[in-house]
Symmetry: C2
């Protein structure tokens, strides 16, 4: 699937929010999660491993969300009716996000898109991209808490292309760092003025 075929996927376009974070501040956050060029290399390798298994990864994540009423409500109307087309529209972008995490350079466009992703989970933009009336936002609690399942569940997939256990571990650590880095960036629009 080309990215042009993904509705609402606006990476690199003029409509994307501008991140208020400077490249200097971004570098300091990267240093704090110990993110280095070696991690970029192993994320690229992870992208090669994961690119044929994106749907399988999404099956695991959607099954996790689908089995928890307190999570599936974020794809539902305020009175609790699941919005199937919303679930599917987000799924396409979620798949592309896996590839972007591994393959995109973490430059200004990438940083801006993290701000956009953050905003799309808040009261400012939730549901707007897909023109749906869902619950008003996903609280910061679940944005941070998701670091665990989104990290832990990826490891078995990284081992599926015959890489050495050392390579799998390095891909996994690079993924873990990237997830923490991204959730950090997504939290910006949740924070009180001056608290980020």
């Amino acid at each position: 699937m080309t990215t042009a075929a993904i509705p609402g996927y606006t990476y690199g376009t003029e409509t994307v929010a501008k991140s208020p974070i400077s490249m200097e501040d971004f570098e300091l956050i990267k240093k704090t999660v110990l993110f280095t060029e070696e991690d970029e290399k192993y994320l690229h390798l992870a992208g090669e491993v994961l690119q044929d298994r994106v749907e399988d990864v999404l099956d695991v994540w959607y099954s996790f969300v689908g089995s928890h009423p307190h999570l599936i409500r974020y794809f539902s109307t305020p009175d609790g009716k699941l919005i199937e087309e919303y679930l599917m529209a987000v799924r396409k972008r979620f798949g592309q996000w896996i590839l972007d995490t591994c393959q995109r350079p973490y430059d200004r466009d990438w940083l801006n898109y993290q701000q956009e992703i953050g905003l799309r989970h808040t009261q400012e933009k939730k549901g707007q991209t897909d023109h749906v009336q869902s619950v008003p936002h996903i609280g910061l609690r679940y944005m941070i808490a998701f670091i665990y399942p989104i990290t832990a569940t990826i490891k078995p997939f990284l081992a599926k292309k015959g890489n050495s256990s050392e390579e799998v571990e390095k891909m996994y650590q690079a993924w873990f760092k990237s997830i923490v880095l991204q959730v950090t960036l997504w939290s910006y629009p949740y924070a009180k003025q001056g608290y980020f």
Copy 2:
């Protein structure tokens, strides 16, 4: 060291902040990080492994902070002068926090203390416990970003008491879940009204 000998360590006392999070909402966050009774069991085991190595763990973390100017500033005056006694006072509580993470039941007292810990990093309470004039707060960015180093660096220590690699992995996963859980709770006072 008994906890009574740790200045500013107020766990379970009347002076601790009250968490605004209900036990029901707390259970949902625990479910989201896949935290179960098995994790409690392995955290207890981790406590047995780590209790004699608390100072070694702190040495690693303090070395990490000390080697990064953008982190050591949080133990410094606003004009950049390190406050040694502040560094040492926090260190004692940090050591106790390792043990609390492993040994305390995650009940209402524990939940309240997470709110207290969160507040002590924000503009509301930073520096008050130790009566120091440091920078006004630690931004949400570093609270979340620290999930990575505080998790990744613990693993070698968990392997130091001869437990099987399976046990070490389970202790490590339980620790990882607990860190994500705690940072989630610490983020409450950073979030805009209604955004947590």
